[in-house]
């Protein structure tokens, strides 16, 4: 999914074609929502991994503390 979004973005910002047809005015809005959805999902993933990373750190430190006791 993220790869697809990046491809769509690259496509829109780099490609220039001749206009030839009418497009439903809501289409741009849907693409924007896909981008926002991706950002939100990416943000959520970062938060998730950060939480996991913190949990891992606390586990390591707890086990070290236990050993030193």
């Amino acid at each position: 999914m993220p790869n697809k979004i990046i491809l769509i973005l690259v496509y829109f910002f780099l490609m220039q074609r001749n206009s030839f047809a009418y497009l439903d005015p809501g289409t741009g809005s849907i693409i924007l929502q896909a981008i926002l959805g991706f950002i939100a999902a990416a943000g959520a993933s970062v938060v998730l991994y950060w939480t996991k990373f913190k949990e891992l750190l606390s586990k390591i430190f707890k086990s070290k503390n236990k050993k030193s006791e």
Binding site: M1, K4, I8, Y11, F12, F13, M15, Q16, R17, N18, S19, A21, Y22, L23, D24, P25, G26, T27, G28, S29, I30, I31, L32, Q33, A34, I35, L36, G37, A40, A41, A44
Partner: protein, 464 residues
């Protein structure tokens, strides 16, 4: 109103149509719209939305209630509003409250696996200063992964006009009235500067949206294909987007600019004694009548509208052309729970019949079904500043309501003198004698009160 009238503005919904009959308002739902109604009735959603004041009262009538309605249709009777207003007549904070209401409504619906399929600001109306949604068929089932189909419409009807006024200091009203779909993303985007774009909401929902639209116009087939194969928007992302829009709109404020009329009710040419006389004259008129709906033309900050609400008037709709003062009037009315709703109106250029077939949005005149009107300190502005002949002003005012009070401000009054000082006295017809003569042709003058030392007079009229 005893006859059947179809609402010309309801043509956009192919599944229903709105009609008026014997002073009540109904919606005829065709078989194609039955599924939506069924969904609304499931799990008591319809009742719940009405009880929570999200949706206007809507009661399903028994079949064959009206012999002129097809037996396959379902008829819903709606609560009737005192006055229908349009977003281009709202003040900044009125549109802001309507936008926040719309988002709150959508967030609530999402919790109940429903959604709004459009985001037309015309579907939000105000009842006792509180927004309420009027179109039950805009509500439909939500399916996980669906995009917010009304996103662009929300931007153009709500977000963009608010950004235009808050960030650029341009009142959205006349622009909105020129394009009934709101402020286009493309137009707003072209006046944004770098400072505006730092804000993520403006960057994504205005600038980037416009850029994507421009690009997607180039190769629509490919874009449509990509969209069809995309995964969709999760419910959580949808909700987050609504909440972030809500937070952004909550942060928007009207720019601080002073206007000539800003301090008018506290800083005017009236002495304390004159003011007392004016209040007495207005109160006397109100006590003699029992108005349900009163129009206050030139309401300023709503001082006399408030007086009306305190003297048996059920609802007052105020009109003025100074949006800053009107906005203050709205916030004050809201704070004090007054049944007074102020709207933008330039009396020399009132809202006309607009939209498809010149009938989608009704003119001010068509909606003006007032029992009474106030036109206090108004006529001299139209006559002297706008050069409108007295007979035409009076004819317009009297056409708005069968009863009312109209204040005449003579040329000797300091405010009129200021207006004449640069223009020169090119108004030989503007005098008390002509005023009385013209008013008498249209109405019976029931009472005259002198309300100032400069001989300002308040005329009570009853239409002939």
């Amino acid at each position: 109103m005893n006859k059947l009238d179809y609402e010309p503005g309801s043509f956009r919904d192919p599944t229903a149509r709105v009609f008026y009959y014997k002073d009540s308002i109904y919606r005829e739902i065709f078989p194609a719209g039955e599924e939506k109604l069924k969904f609304l009735k499931e799990k008591n959603l319809l009742k719940d939305l009405i009880d929570k004041n999200f949706l206007i009262g809507s009661e399903e009538l028994k079949k064959k209630h009206f012999d002129f309605i097809d037996e396959n249709s379902i008829v819903i009777k709606h609560d009737k509003l005192n006055f229908i207003s349009y977003p281009y007549e709202w003040t900044f904070n009125e549109l802001k409250d309507a936008a926040l209401f719309h988002l709150d409504f959508q967030i609530y619906l999402l919790e109940r696996s429903a959604q709004l399929v459009d985001a037309s600001a015309y579907n939000v109306q105000f009842r006792n200063n509180k927004p309420i949604f009027i179109d039950l068929l805009s509500i439909d089932k939500y399916r996980e992964g669906e995009y917010w189909v009304a996103h662009k419409q929300f931007c153009e009807n709500f977000l963009n006009p608010l950004v235009l006024t808050s960030k650029k200091g341009i009142n959205f009203n006349n622009w909105f009235r020129g394009n009934l779909e709101g402020i286009s993303t493309h137009e707003l985007s072209s006046i944004l500067n770098l400072k505006d774009l730092i804000n993520p909401t403006i960057f994504f929902h205005v600038y980037l949206l416009n850029k994507i639209e421009e690009k997607s116009q180039k190769n629509p087939n490919k874009v449509t294909e990509k969209i069809k194969t995309s995964k969709g928007l999760s419910k959580n992302s949808f909700r987050s987007m609504l909440i972030s829009l809500k937070k952004f709109i909550e942060s928007l404020n009207l720019r601080k600019q002073s206007s000539i009329w800003d301090q008018y009710s506290t800083n005017n040419s009236y002495s304390k004694e004159d003011e007392r006389k004016k209040i007495k004259a207005v109160t006397g008129f109100l006590k003699k009548n029992n108005f349900k709906l009163l129009g206050d033309l030139g309401c300023n900050d709503g001082k006399y509208s408030k007086l009306a609400t305190e003297n048996n008037v059920e609802t007052v709709i105020g009109f003025d052309f100074d949006l800053k003062v009107l906005d203050r009037a709205y916030l004050n009315a809201k704070k004090n729970s007054l049944n007074f709703f102020p709207l933008y109106l330039d009396a020399s250029n009132p809202s006309g019949n607009l939209g498809w077939n010149d009938s989608e949005r009704m003119s001010f005149q068509r909606r003006a079904s007032f029992d009474g009107i106030f036109a206090l300190a108004l006529t001299h502005h139209l006559a002297i500043a706008k050069n409108i002949p007295l007979n035409q002003i009076l004819s317009w005012l009297v056409s708005l309501a069968p009863k009312g009070i109209i204040e005449f401000v003579p040329k000797e009054d300091p405010t009129t003198q200021i207006m004449l000082s640069l223009k020169g006295d090119i108004f030989p017809q503007y005098n008390e004698e002509n005023f009385e003569q013209q008013l008498s042709k249209l109405a019976k003058i029931e009472n005259i009160s002198v309300v100032s030392e400069t001989n300002r007079k308040i005329y009570e009229y009853k239409r002939l």
